[in-house]
């Protein structure tokens, strides 16, 4: 047990985030990033959106989406810099930026979803 590493745990989060992002983000980004702003489709109004997001199941799904997707980014982006740009001497700073960012975003998601009226 001398070489216990948290790499498998981080990899599991990366993998879970890959699944969540693949299933949910394309349709959401298409609707909120393109179809609604460009007027292709009529977006649901404030009341309806709030009603949908207030449902406990929606809150849970959105929290998991934020949490897992952010750790997916952290892990993949860390290795993009490592393999692609071969920035190895900055490893501690990169890890702090990636996983620190993921933790911050996850806490923000938990707070926002919890305090929603």
């Amino acid at each position: 047990m001398a070489n216990r590493s948290n790499e498998p745990f981080l990899w599991a989060l990366f993998s879970g985030g890959g699944v969540a992002a693949a299933f949910l983000i394309p349709v959401l980004l298409f609707l909120y990033g393109l179809a609604f702003p460009l007027g292709w489709l009529q977006p649901p109004d404030y009341e309806r959106t709030l009603g949908l997001v207030q449902h406990p199941l929606t809150r849970l799904v959105l929290f998991l989406l934020c949490f897992l997707s952010l750790f997916h980014w952290a892990h993949r982006f860390r290795f993009t810099l490592y393999d692609g740009l071969q920035i190895k001497h900055l490893n501690p700073a990169i890890n702090l930026f990636c996983y620190g960012g993921a933790v911050t975003g996850t806490l923000a998601a938990a707070y926002l979803l919890w305090t929603l009226p």
Binding site: A22, V27, G33, L34, P37, Y46, V53
Partner: protein, 139 residues
Amino acid sequence: MKPSTAYSQYHPKWHRTRVSTLWWSRKWSYLKFMLRELSSVFVAFYVVILLLQLHALGRGPEAYLEFQLWLQNPLLVVLNGIGFLFVLFHAVTWFNLTPKAMAVRLRGRRLPNVLVAAPNYAVWLAVSALIVFLLMRQG
């Protein structure tokens, strides 16, 4: 321990050819790998938009309207368009990994890759249709 099997502190000078920082730009398959890895940036980008949306939603109808108008910024629309292509690329490459990660056998024969990946696409379609239905339903 016999001297021949002991770990030697002495190494002749390693010979390693230097790899260029742009090694991934020389070949399409390498470039595809880097683009796939970079898709994660747009995954995080979308989460930030979602967090801003939740923030606006919590602050009331006026803040939410402001958020919706902010999304109409042409620069953001272009960025979202690029982001959409990247997350599509992420989804397709992710779903196509399934047959590479597991070999499904049926009556002793290996199932073709297309059939192993197919359920992912079916679920993707169903989930996307459900989200569109929930958001577009009238009344």
